[in-house]
Each structure stands twice: as structure tokens, then as C-alpha cells.
Symmetry: none
Subunit: 164 residues, 2 copies
């Protein structure tokens, strides 16, 4: 219905800006190379514009015109593979190369390292893989110092709403 998916009809926007600038229809028409009756038509409900017409009007109003496609949010991100997780966490295992098998054989060790040194996104990735319970448990382990523990408990409590 409206030209602008965000709501305010373009004609109203033109009128507001024009009045804000203290211009009459005739003055704006002169500045934008159109006519007062045409502008009136636009301000009164016209909704089938050419972009260049709007641009000329915008310029005359000392404004810009923004026209863009707004992608709808696509499908939720695909399932994360084990290999991808290893890749994400690899930087944290500078002393020993992380293997895919480590994720299943030494989950506590992996998680401890992630919590101690990982960034938020790495922890999130791990959480998605191991589950939140595993993270909560790992946070309680003694290798994790208090400061880190408090930090992650605060962060994870805060971000209990995963992006869907």
C-alpha cells in the first residue's frame, strides 16, 4: 500500500520536509523542476513514483533519498558441523592441535579451555555443540578460575535466548 515499507507515505514525507523548510508548493516546484499541482498530487496520496522524480524532490528539499532492498531474514543458520567447530576453536589450542576426536573424547578439557580463553562466539559455538548443560557443568570445574566463572555465568545467563 505504501511506497515505503517502513510506513510513512512518501507524499507525507514530502509535505513534512517542505513545511519544515518553509517552502510553498510553488517554491519547491521551481527548485525541483516540477509544478505545484504535481507536487500537490504527490502530497495528496499519489503512490506510483519514479525514483528520479523523488530524487529531484529530495535534492530540492536538501535531503537524500534512500532506496534499497531489505532482505528478509533467511532461514536460521545451518547445522554446524564438527569440523567447523574445530576450526572455530582451533586458535584456543595453541599447544596442541585440536582434533575432531577430542570433542568426543575429552569434552571437559575442551570446554575448560574454551571457557578460560575463548571469546564469546567460541563459547557459543561450543554451547551449540555440547549443549548448555555441558557448559554450565564445565563452568563449575575448578580449572576455571572464579573470575572466568563469574563472567561466563553472567554472560550465559544473559544470553539464554539463542538467536532462532
Amino acid at each position: 500500500m505504501y511506497d515505503n515499507v517502513k510506513g510513512v507515505p512518501l507524499g507525507l514525507q514530502i509535505r513534512w520536509l517542505r513545511q519544515d523548510r518553509g517552502l510553498t508548493l510553488e517554491q519547491l516546484a521551481t527548485r525541483s523542476g516540477t509544478s505545484a499541482p504535481t507536487l500537490h498530487r504527490y502530497e495528496s496520496g499519489w503512490d506510483r513514483f519514479e525514483i528520479r522524480t523523488l530524487e529531484r524532490i529530495a535534492t530540492a528539499l536538501d535531503a537524500g533519498l534512500e532506496v534499497r532492498f531489505v532482505p528478509a531474514s533467511p532461514e536460521s543458520d545451518p547445522e554446524q558441523t564438527t569440523e567447523e567447530l574445530v576450526e572455530i576453536l582451533a586458535p584456543l589450542f595453541w599447544d596442541r592441535e585440536l582434533q575432531v576426536s577430542d570433542l568426543s573424547e575429552y569434552p571437559s578439557w575442551v570446554l575448560g579451555r574454551v571457557l578460560m580463553y575463548g571469546q564469546r562466539e567460541q563459547v557459543r559455538a561450543a554451547s551449540r555443540f555440547f549443549g548448555e548443560d555441558a557448559i554450565a557443568t564445565a563452568v563449575e570445574r575448578r580449572e576455571v578460575d572464579d573470575r572466568t566463572r563469574n563472567y561466563w555465568q553472567a554472560v550465559l545467563a544473559d544470553s539464554c535466548t539463542p538467536r532462532s
Copy 2:
């Protein structure tokens, strides 16, 4: 020169979205009630659109179209905080909420997204934060297609004079 004062030609946006959706010209043409040659014309540099045409295409691409007047930017903007940058870039990260930490942890990823989908002001904001070298490097990455690369290289070379 461009339809969209903020940067990415509408034709490029159409092409990106179409390819992102995995549609051929013919498929999109059918969905949007136009023809493949017409779409090709649009994707190839056409810049005099009617709003309703763009809207039909957007709908066929499961996207929206945003058209609005943008009041001229007042006094030059003050120093930009990290939070502000995140806010500016947030719309580009529709599939996953952008965090402040992402800026430091995954700069390449962030910049890639910004270059692929961002508007000029978003790229500028990113450039101010990451530095022009980072942008130049990001432009060279392979996720950025040739056309986009050429575009930004042209634009950024053009605007090497920062606003003072």
C-alpha cells in the same frame, strides 16, 4: 549517478538477492511478472525505476523495499563508539545478531558482509573503525565478487578525502 544515494546500485542488489535465492533470471521474471531480458537490463546498470516495479521484484525475492527521504545529515558526526558502529551495521546482519566482540574477533567476516551488502555510509563507518587498510584488504577477499570489488575500489579511491 546511482539510484540509491547511499551506494549500491539497485541492479546489483537485485542480482545479489536473486543469486542468493538461487533463482535464474527467468524464474525471477515469472515470479515478479516481468521478463528475463528486462531483469537483465536492470541488473546491468539500468537506473530509472518505478517504485512499483522494484516492489514487485522485492516481493518476488522475499525481500522488502525501503524508500524514504533522508533529512540531510546535520553537523559532522562525532566520534563513533563501538556500540554505535554495531548499531549502524546491525541491519546487515539479519541472520545473526552482530556483537561488539565480533568487530575484534571476526573483522574479516564483518567487513565482508559490510562490503557485500552495506550502504556507502556503513562502509564508511566501518572504514573509520577498522581503518582503510582493513577495507582495502577485505575488498580483495574472494567472497567479494569482482563487480563489487571494482565498485568499492572505485568508490573508496574516489572518497579518499575524509570529511573534516
